[in-house]
Amino acid sequence: MTGAGQEAVIDCRNLWKIFGRRADEAMKAVQKQGLGKIEVRDQFDCVVGVQDATFTVGRGEIFCIMGLSGSGKSTLIRHVNRLIEPTSGQLFIEGQDVNQLSARQLREVRAEKIGMVFQNMALMPHRTVLENVSFSQEVRGHSLRERRENALRAIDAVDLNGWDQKYPDELSGGMQQRVGLARAIAADPSILLMDEPFSALDPLIRRQLQDKFMSLSAEMKKTTLFITHDLDEAIRIGHRIAIMKDGALVQVGTPEDIVTNPADDYVADFVAGISKLELISAGKIMEPVAVFEKREGPVDLSTWPEAHPDHSLDDLVNLSIATQHPVVVKANGHPIGIVTKNALLRGIKGEVDVMNTAAE
């Protein structure tokens, strides 16, 4: 399941978290009898936070976890730096089982390998922006000059130059959120954990910060676990998306997979309102030239608009507006497929099984 076949930086295996005093009992009952969330609540007075989560995140990948409020996203992400101990299951970071680390090793991993942005920001109100941002280096005992340099670099990266001596309550919400981001990247960790970092912001600022984050992430090659309850955001920034429901991961896949191939009704409901224009590529909806010619007879492709298989539906729409003809898809200069107007319209509706219907 690892994205693009890279090494797994975060490797989560059959992770369960049950909250409550009788969690261990409940866990045994779940494993033996396969109790559901509601039975566990009624019989053991426990809350199932995470159910059997298994996923991996590859180096440099942005992995989005997406789900409604209360679906267990924050609970799941807190296992990665062991702010929460799992009831059962394992979690590896670069091959190390975090739940086997000693307290000292764990603090070292938290300070140097992992940066976290919190849903509620959680800045320290009694410290300046600079002191907040350099906190993880301060607790590691780095020299004042070194941590100041790194912190200023991080503050610079989130465009907060000149605000370093201010206190969090002197900043707007969006600026505070950027301080949170700067704090997470200051120690140059290889892993970022982002818990709904942009949810509380207005759409314009949110988009700016998303862009900022994506360019930072690509530049610094961070492995990111990104939580959101906004599918548009997940699609925009995620390389892969996991959809979470009642603590379980119901589907893991690329944005295109999720949108075109929802695993169940829950996911289908989620993606129903999503625009497919940017998500589906020409390669997904074209039919082979041979199939087209068999149906329509030989055609002269030279006057038709041309597209690349990676072009999005949006590009195809722009090409098609100017002409009556279908679009030819060419790879390396050779025509490999045709996108008819009907196929394009079906693609916009999210139906990508054109080739099958055409073959019938």
Binding site: N81, L83, A103, R107, E108, V109, R110, A111, E112, I114, M116, F118, N120, A122, L123, M124, P125, H126, F135, S136, E138, V139, R140, Y167, D169, R183
Partner: protein, 311 residues
Amino acid sequence: MAETQFSILDPFSSVDLGLAQSADGVKQWAIDNRGVIQPIKNFFNDMIVGIDTALNAVPPMIMLLIMVLIAWQAGGRRVAILVAVCMFALGFLSPNAWGLAMTTLAIVISAVILCFIIGLPLGILAGKNDRFEAGIRPVLDTMQTIPAFVYLVPVVMLIGIGNVSGVIVTIIFALPPLIRLTSLGIRGVNPSVVEAARAFGANPRQILFKVELPLATPTILAGVNQTIMLSLSMVVIASMISVKGLGNEVLRAMGRLDAGKALVGGLGIVILAVVLDRITQGMGQSGRERGHRHWWQGGPVGAVLRLAGKN
């Protein structure tokens, strides 16, 4: 016990468990352990006497100036003016009022320092540990409600009359609010900020000193303020076990029905209370409320720093 008939309707008067007698045993124990108690007593006595001598050695006008500067730093100009007026009034109450007030101040300072040393760790513990909090709460209730005369006697039996007993009696009465408010302050720290500190690799000690205590400081200082006020309210009772100072004036005035002397002592205590209250309340205020962020940015220190910065 043999002569009183046991009656089911009134079992209490006929049964004697010997509680009062066993408490008397304290005296024998104290006599037997004099060797242990005496050096500890001497240490604390030296501390109190040291502070007393120091405060009385400073000429009153210099002392007044120092207090006004402290008040200015802690609470701003208005507090400084109030403190100046109060201290002048105190000095003019009677020719010996200033010296008595300094002696009382020494007792209060000693008691508050010891309260702080004992109360802060206990308060932190109570803030972090629910069981400890549950266990210490009835003890604190007892300390605050039990009449002072009840523990006055055993304390005197153990340690004898004098300053040390006076301070101990004062501590028993004045300590509880500091512990309670420290615990409250620690519990009131936003848990998500503590979680963030954990997530960035802080160890428990760093979390305590870099996050929890700084954020709990206003509440803890409110506790210190309460402790100071309660210490002052104990000075008359403490003077019964031969503690000198303003309280002693009141006590002697009562004995002689001397209203004038009582007024001097009483007013002196009230003025001292007002002064100490305003100064500690000023410390508890956050810098934001006063328009600047750090304590060294305002008051006389700020003025000096600004001057130094200009040159």
